[in-house]
């Protein structure tokens, strides 16, 4: 969520139970202002918090023109840049990293990968080492790819392909806010191209250029609730437990934050 609106949006997204303590919030406000100037960022988002076994890491993502950088910190004051998540890094982390985050940035996870080819019986043992920083970077990028959410209409796409915030977005109204198809994934659309022309006929190309949440598999991996006496619409992901998206209907306020242990919930189909 935008750090400018952090002090009131954090209150809205606390359904999960985890928030920042008042000391952390104060530290965050101070350090983010300094950070913004040092790195010359145009927009700063507080991404969330990952609980490790020993320590807790806070993650920020920044948008600087075309770059998308992530920084992390242990105490909300000193921020370190995270490496960019490349595909090979993602593959390595998927193999090597098991169990919880430890919170120690230099901790290394190791995994032995045995390359055998059946009858040939040529087995090579390849040790894959992944350190915590890359694991964090890939987790952040995975979570963003899977579950970052925006309400429909908050962003528009101009005919030449540029995506911008919609300044005249007045928020979803109460009837629309409870329907899952009014929320879209904020990432490269995957399902959109596979749709038939008949299905796309009622979509507005300026607004509906992203995948809606209602098409996620398995169905039911999002839980939509109205909290605080139905004034705030909260979406929680059951795939990445800890991701909370909030939207106040009839206002343009929305945002998402991840507070959890950074583990994918692979048992989701059993749990529904």
């Amino acid at each position: 969520m935008d750090f400018e609106s952090l002090h009131y949006s954090l209150d809205l997204a606390t359904g999960n139970g985890l928030t920042l303590s008042s000391e952390q919030r104060a530290a965050l406000q101070t350090s983010l202002v300094i950070l913004k100037r040092n790195y010359k960022f145009s927009r700063v988002l507080f991404w969330g918090k990952i609980l490790g076994l020993k320590l807790i890491k806070h993650v920020l993502s920044q948008i600087n023109l075309h770059h998308f950088l992530s920084l992390n910190s242990l105490n909300c004051m000193d921020w370190h840049l995270l490496p960019l998540a490349t595909e090979s890094m993602i593959a390595d982390v998927a193999l090597a990293a098991q169990g919880r985050f430890t919170g120690d940035p230099s901790h290394e996870h190791t995994e032995m990968r045995i390359k055998g080819e059946g009858d040939d019986a040529t087995e090579e043992e390849v040790t894959v080492k992944v350190n915590e920083a890359s694991r964090l970077a890939t987790t952040v990028s995975n979570i963003d790819k899977d579950v970052s959410v925006v309400p429909r209409g908050a962003f528009t796409k101009s005919p030449c392909g540029k995506v911008q915030t919609n300044r005249s977005f007045g928020g979803l109204d109460h009837v629309e806010a409870v329907k899952l198809r009014n929320y879209l994934h904020f990432r490269e659309p995957v399902n959109l191209k596979k749709k038939s022309i008949l299905e796309m006929s009622h979509l507005n190309p300026a607004i509906d250029f992203l995948d809606p949440l209602s098409e996620d598999v398995p169905k039911g991996s999002w839980c939509l609730q109205l909290e605080r006496g139905s004034t705030v619409c909260i979406l929680r992901s059951l795939l990445w437990l800890g991701l909370t998206f909030f939207h106040v209907p009839q206002t343009p306020q929305h945002g998402h934050i991840y507070m959890g242990d950074g583990l994918l919930n692979l048992d989701l189909p059993f749990m529904l």
């Binding site: 139970g17 076994l53 169990g99 609730q225 929680r236 048992d267 059993f270 749990m271």
Partner: protein
């Protein structure tokens, strides 16, 4: 002649004035008058200058009359629909009004109140980064007060919040005074048993009429009896509500089978208490019971307190394993926060551990309980595997937390201090890694536990559901169904010959006997 002209003029003027008066008279039906209407019509014609005005004059006149009618609102108005938000707000409004009977109880309230200080709890947990939102906590506080007023509880505590897919549960833990709080015996279970017995009887009757099918040799293990109220797992009573302000629903007592099955399944809560829990092994009960079982497991696993806060009473028995009550230590002086955060020895469990059987105190069921399904080793504390009739023993009450077993190389607890910058006022916080969402804090002489989460344990590896037991072999072997080779032709002829010999021999003997008798 001039006079007549004037007179004529006068008459004309008077006639005109009379006619004008006639025209100005309001119609009784529509309250319009002809004079004004003609004025407006002709003004309109002057302004618009339509073509062929004389042809369209009637239409214009009609339009004009229609446009004069004032726009009234439609008499059918939407009655304001009561949205869900409105209903909730009205219920929550009741939280903020003082009940009528409270006026005279001031003194009693101030002395000893079972109501916990939720605001203080919220403050300390916020230092740790665990919060439900300030207004929400305030509403929870008031809802707890409502609960305490409605039920006579000896002690009450805000246990936490369990999230579900469609709705959440706020859970409060209460302890009744001795002898109170007895609920009606759950007739549900017995009713189900009766139904099942009847069905079995019908089936067996039908079956015996035809060829008897082999009966199943499966004997289900005898059900473990549940623990009494106020002891062991059922020591506290739990109340849940969906939102603060809604009425509190009391959860029933939990049975050991429910706990054992809850250990094997992994499901989200839906938020509706009457939702069925569809799983394998089949869960005996609906969401109410599943919720109660999970609450029991979480309490047993993660409710901790600083060492020394609770102590055993002096008149307890000597057996370590059977101590099940504790009392507050009035001489407890707080342990320093740094020490609390560093060493796990200083935190102890004050809730009894639940054994494999599903109870806190082991009960010897006469037959060996056959566990058909593999159980994942989900226990935190070490146990002795129950042999034929050896009792199950768990760690005694008030064991330190450092003795909890690891799960998959993750230590069971993580501790931290809330702030490094102002150490003299910081709090020590303990986070459970086995039940993510469970937190405990200690600061000086105060401590607290809370759970905010999805109500599921951290397994560490992917969940594998229990496998179905293998089906029974079809028929028990017996002479009627064992296959044998059909006899070949020679054998049949040999048999036939042998039989004929026998009958021939018999006939001879009979003939001989007859002859003898005759003789």
């Amino acid at each position: 002649m001039e006079m007549t002209e004037e007179a004529v003029n006068n008459e004309r003027l008077q006639a005109a004035a009379r006619f004008k008066a006639f025209m100005i008279k309001n119609s009784t039906k529509t309250n319009l008058n002809l004079y004004d209407h003609l004025v407006r019509l002709l003004t309109k014609v002057m302004d618009e200058r339509p073509e062929n005005a004389v042809d369209v004059i009637e239409d214009m006149s009609r339009e004009l009359k229609g446009s004069i009618l004032p726009e009234k609102q439609d008499t059918l108005r939407d009655s304001p629909s009561s949205s869900a938000a409105l209903l909730l707000a009205e219920q929550q409004k009741a939280l903020f009004t003082r009940a009528a009977g409270d006026e005279g109880d001031h003194e009693e309230d101030l002395v000893e109140s079972p109501l916990p200080n939720v605001a203080e709890l919220a403050f300390f947990f916020e230092q740790a980064g665990v919060d439900l939102g300030r207004e929400e906590m305030q509403r929870v506080f008031l809802a707890l007060k409502q609960l305490v007023d409605a039920q006579c509880l000896l002690r009450c505590r805000f246990w936490g919040k369990i999230l579900g897919t469609q709705g959440n549960y706020l859970v409060a833990e209460g302890e009744f005074r001795e002898g109170e709080g007895e609920e009606e015996e759950g007739t549900e279970q017995t009713h189900e048993d009766e139904e099942r017995e009847e069905e079995d009887k019908d089936e067996t009757e039908l079956v015996e009429a035809a060829d008897p099918t082999p009966k199943s040799t499966y004997k289900p293990p005898p059900p473990v009896p549940k623990e009494e109220n106020h002891t062991g797992v059922n020591k506290y009573t739990y109340f849940v509500c969906q939102e603060p302000g809604m009425p509190w629903v009391r959860l029933p007592m939990v049975t050991p089978t429910q706990i054992t099955v809850a250990r094997q399944i992994r499901r989200f809560f839906t938020g509706r208490l009457d939702a069925p829990v569809i799983s394998y092994p089949p869960f005996p009960g609906n969401e109410t019971n599943y919720l109660r079982a999970q609450i029991a497991r979480i309490s047993a696993g993660t409710h901790v307190s600083p060492l020394g806060f609770y102590q055993f009473g002096e008149d307890e028995g000597e057996d370590d394993g059977l101590r099940d009550s504790y009392e507050e230590n009035p001489n407890f002086e707080g342990i320093h926060v740094n020490e609390m955060a560093e060493s796990l020895n200083l935190w102890v469990h004050h809730i009894q551990h639940i054994l494999t059987q599903g109870r806190c105190v082991w009960v010897n069921v006469t037959k060996k309980s056959a566990d058909d399904v593999d159980e994942d080793a989900e226990e935190e504390e070490r146990e002795e595997e129950p042999d034929e009739l050896e009792p199950e023993v768990g760690p005694p009450l008030l064991t330190p937390v450092s003795e909890d077993a690891k799960m998959n190389d993750t230590p069971p607890w993580s501790s931290m201090i809330s702030t490094n910058l102002i150490p003299q006022f910081s709090t020590a916080v303990l986070r459970s890694n086995l039940w993510p969402g469970s937190y405990a804090y200690a600061s000086g002489r105060k401590f607290g536990n809370i759970y905010i989460g999805w109500g599921m344990k951290y397994i560490g590896e992917a969940y594998t559901p229990t496998i179905l037991p293998p089906p029974q072999n079809e028929y028990p072997s017996g002479p009627e169904i064992t296959e044998a080779l059909d006899p070949s032709v020679e054998e049949e002829q040999a048999l036939k010959a042998a039989l004929e010999e026998q009958t021939a021999a018999l006939d001879e003997t009979e003939d001989l006997e007859d002859e003898e008798e005759d003789d």
